[in-house]
Amino acid sequence: MPEPEYRVKVGLATCGIAGGAAKVYARFQDALKGSAVSLERTGCIGMCYNEPLVEVLEAGGKRYLYGKLTPDDALRIVEEHLKQGRPVIDLLLLGEGCTPGEETFLDKQKRILLKNCGLIDPENIESYTAIGGYEGLRAALTAMTPGEVIEEIRRSGLRGRGGAGFPTHTKWRLTREAAGVQKYIICNADEGDPGAFMDRSILESDTHSVLEGMLIAGYAIGASAGYVYIRAEYPLAIRRLKLAISQAEASGFLGERILGSDFSFKVFIREGAGAFVCGEETALLMSIEGKRGMPRFRPPFPAQKGLFGSPTSINNVETLANVPRIMHQGAEAYSSLGTEESKGTKVFALAGKIRRGGLIEIPMGTTINKIVFEIGGGISTGKPFKAVQTGGPSGGCIPASLGDTPVDYESLKKIGAIMGSGGLLVMDEETCMVDVAKYFLTFTKDESCGKCTFCRAGTNQMHKILERITQGEGREEDVQILVDLAEKIKSGSLCGLGQTAPNPVLTTIQFFRDEYEAHVREKYCPAKKCKALIEYKIDRDSCTGCTLCARQCPTGAISGTKKEAHSIQLSACIRCGLCINSCKFEAILISSNPKVKA
């Protein structure tokens, strides 16, 4: 078959679809009916801020990336580019003729793990095998003993990407050496950090690599079955996993006597049921066993006594996806990247007040400033950069002043934050740090399984205190009480949830104490976020009386005659901010609430 003159690839991961990619794909499908252009689907290339993304590949090798497309833009691309050979310059992000700028997002990264994402069709196994997929498995099964596989992983320096950074080879070796006929490998795809989407993207965009990683792990530890424990909130990832499993079975990569070896392996999918704590390994085991997801005391570690009492290795999605890369390219190539203690690359989900939010991959040791400014293109709102948050509810806020901190396990730990699983939230001056701390505590107090008193009652107590501080009812001693409580919760909790829950509060107090004090002493929210401490007003000079805000206001608090300045009735105003969003003249102002007395 001759190569088609044009190939059109539409990014159809959840982020693309959320941005409208399915409609764009459908429009291409209609417009290309009967044409020789090959229309293909692919995963996420990481530029989520430009979704929907479409790449046009010309037979000669030229590539053009289009972004932020509407279905009508798709028609333009068909007419102008595919029919007349003129790329649509004004929609172009990358490729000949376009204004430079966007390429730094990709150029400053090091995409090893993500190299297939946005390149291959995740729903087609041949698309994966064509670029060396399952070769890592083949190499392991045909030329290596399980011990040699573990040794290769040891030399690569791979550490768990689920948060704690435990050396992967040690976990595998312990599981291999544990007594037991039946052993399991579990892929932890619970991705609980509410602000992280690395695992989702990998699962949706390069599904087979995770399966291949599980297979190699299974071979190394002597397991005959594996489970993927995946959040129910990721329906597309679940669908693609199921598809990948059946394709791998049909191709002989999964099932009995894989690739003619003695190794047989099955994979089952278990959907999570909406409990953050089930990302914790012992709670996860309980959940697969069909019980309440309550963590238990370790030892015994899962490597000794795990799923259904059998030795089990629990590994994160990204950890497992790294494995085929290491087997394929060798441990040296992998460990040549990164720092002394943290090898390889790390994927981050860059989000928040950042211009170019998306999925990025960087060598370990890259600084926060480089991520925020060079890759991320700086702050989206144009306001000053204030902090980043890593590690979600278990992690910490790092102030802009520490922006030259390298991102690796040890350096982040030193400043009270953690690497976490890869959520990286960027905050600007308009973000209230007390509100952020309260947000995370709301999350952890709700998600505490209730087993340990300090975690259950302590997080509730901390939340109450934060609540009253944001209400303008904080007391002078509150910050100290928070610090004391934090220490008790950390030492009095059985699992990582409680042990790390106070981190967001502790780091915001450490680096943004003045904000806490402004709330407590002056009843003032510097970021103007805390509703009880602010008041909305209409600037009579800027208001044109267009009535838009009055029509938006859900409580009818805004009144005025057309073409005359409006006003807000403060007693009815719930400070939802809908009016500000609707105003085209910046006529609605926020000021401190004079009624809360300092």
Partner: protein
Amino acid sequence: MEHKNMNNLKISAKEQPLFAIMEIVQRHQAEQGPAIPILQDIQSAFGYVSPQMLERASEFSGIPVSELYSIVTFYAQFRMEPIGENLIQVCHGTACHLAGAEKITESLQFETKASAGGTSPDGKFSLEKVACLGCCSLAPVITLNEETNGRLTPDKIKKIVKETRKLSAKNAEAMGVCTDA
């Protein structure tokens, strides 16, 4: 209303609920620790799990009903009340929180007349708050019947709700025509 059936059940959950539950239990019989998948399938067939369904599932599977209760009360995914015709999940993950998820929930409550965690009086909409839908760079995000929508504003919410209302009225009409014929 029959909930969107993603189970490929051979039996209609609406017409023969008992047999549908039996089929679900049988399907998971051979698995180790089948309780949660059974309950998930029941919820996806019926839209929720009721005490009666738990009793039946317990009878068929031999899992004590207390154990099934302990699961549905622990995991946030399980609903014990039927949901409205359209399910809207509002993301309250960190990125969405920073991007104003509260505003989105408020305008959804205003437009649909459903409270967060509840169903509108007309039965058209149920609202749920969830943590991170995994589209953080497009925050704020909601899913409407599993379809993800990003970069939302109160204005867009208004439009989405209006369109959904129109669509469901149209569907109802189409159903009406069918039954009349």
